[in-house]
Subunit: 306 residues, 2 copies
């Protein structure tokens, strides 16, 4: 096998109470990528469709993660990477993670899987770091493993796969505005009240328990964020209206996807997810801000060959 | 049935990262209680053996929780309570919780179980409050439900039963010193670093996952407390030596039980738990401080009729 086509999915990180640790994988949105062996040694980005991203391997997220893996192997051939980008950079649903994951996953397949997913995460972190200016795996983990993931640590990489109910859907609105990373970081408090932290970790514990036990009511009770949402939600126009409409339409919970501006809702069943889409659409249609909305089942597979 | 004998177990609260929310139940230590119907209406403490505690119903933990339940029912008889106290008050393994739980559990049995365990928790909270000066269910929940519990909230009472591996043992050392509640509260920080809080909730999430998946290695990786232990451990003489000896003897984790002075270790299997007992004994035997050590399987049943 010399060429492989990959679907690398969008993901939601910072799931409510699970700021910086919990993420999940989408299946209706993602990038397509082609990875190809080539006689020339090295890693080469040969095609980028969709968005204006750098072709220089060392400046490209997919290129940097691919190089991290390439430098760990000893082969007499190279790799070409084509990127068909559907996830808009900066949208808050793991655009850079999809690129970082796609290249290392595809190369690993062409090489006969010498690396496990934890090792792939470590390579992908290097690519993700050039996009987000820090090493984190919040989006990489769900893109690679699928489903819900908990990033226990990144040094060493330790990813936990949390099971989730089979009928869980996400509705994601992406308002077409830009939030600067520096701004979304600047609004985070450096210190938090111990009482709030306790509330948050009670919710994290109960969210993990709810996912293990398919307890939708407990999911609803646990999807709260008393630490980050109060600060970051101010950066997203009409956030509270979207949240209110989403919950009224039956969402189990609603929160900021990654560092925004996308907003996710979780719900039981496709019908409710579509009702939420309509409710959110009604809110945002009045704002004059361009947006799109996706409905997606939780993708338990993650990145895959197509 | 007019009389019932109860075993009400000791418990460990504030399990490492799960400060204020996670607890577990012991089976080798606990109080015995006798609850008896009596013609005279009201609740009466008729016997207390072991420690000097008040006989006035309104001043006794078991009495107050019993009264909370008694006031919620309408019967033409009363209850007598005998308390054979084995758990030393102030030892940090849920002495007051055992009293509060035993009376309401026993009365509920004699009444034909009109209340579920969540409702019993709410009554018991009233008794616990007079001992600890605040309403909390960290020890009540594991005493009533058994096993590992997560107190999701106390208003309303919401207790989650987290499964645990069958071969999990606790070793508990109780140094015979007094730590004033006011002092153990005073050392707690009001604010904590967001980065520490994130580490803590990652550990809580992964601890719950480890308990669900019987993953002892992950239990070991998760039983860390970066928030409270650094402050409260200073109040317990030789804490760090005990912890080091315990971990070297094979403990999965070691932490402060409740607000101390007891220290708990968790381990896989009775043999390791006994090795830990010996290692801790060697540390404390040199200190001149009186102490006792218990080894206990995790008690999955909780309070029970004997």
């Amino acid at each position: 096998m010399n060429e492989i086509k990959i679907f690398s999915p969008a993901t939601v990180a910072n799931v409510s109470c699970g700021f910086d640790v919990l993420g999940f994988c989408l299946d209706s949105v993602g990038d397509d990528m082609v990875i190809r062996k080539t006689d020339k040694k090295g890693v080469f980005i040969t095609k980028i469709v969709g968005f204006d991203l750098p072709y220089e391997t060392e400046l490209n997220v997919a290129g940097v993660s691919a190089l991290a893996m390439y430098n760990a192997i000893d082969v007499d051939f190279g790799f070409e990477i084509e990127i068909y980008k559907n996830i808009k950079p900066g949208s808050g649903i793991g655009s850079s993670a999809a690129s970082a994951v796609g290249s290392v996953f595809g190369m690993n397949e062409l090489l006969g899987r010498p690396f496990n997913k934890t090792e792939l995460t470590a390579f992908a972190i290097k690519g993700e770091a050039i996009a987000s200016k820090c090493e984190h795996a919040d989006n990489l983990a769900p893109a690679l493993f699928g489903g819900f993931t908990l990033v226990k640590s990144i040094n060493p990489v330790q990813i936990l796969e949390i099971p989730s109910p089979s009928d869980l859907y996400a509705t994601i609105i992406h308002p077409q505005i830009e939030i600067k990373t520096s701004e979304s970081r600047a609004v985070l408090p450096k210190e938090v009240a111990l009482s709030d932290a306790i509330t948050q970790w009670a919710n994290v514990g109960s969210l993990v328990h709810a996912l293990h036990t398919n307890d939708y009511n407990l999911l609803k009770d646990s999807l709260h964020d008393v630490i980050v949402e109060p600060h970051r939600s101010k950066l997203i126009p009409h956030y509270n209206d979207v949240k209110q409409a989403s919950l009224q339409a039956g969402a189990l919970g609603c929160g900021i996807s990654g560092s925004g501006p996308s907003i996710f809702s979780l719900s039981k069943g496709l019908e409710t997810a579509n009702n939420i889409k309509e409710a959110i659409n009604n809110v945002y249609a009045k704002t004059g801000i361009e947006f799109d909305i996706h409905v997606s089942k939780i993708n338990t597979e993650g990145v895959k060959i197509v």
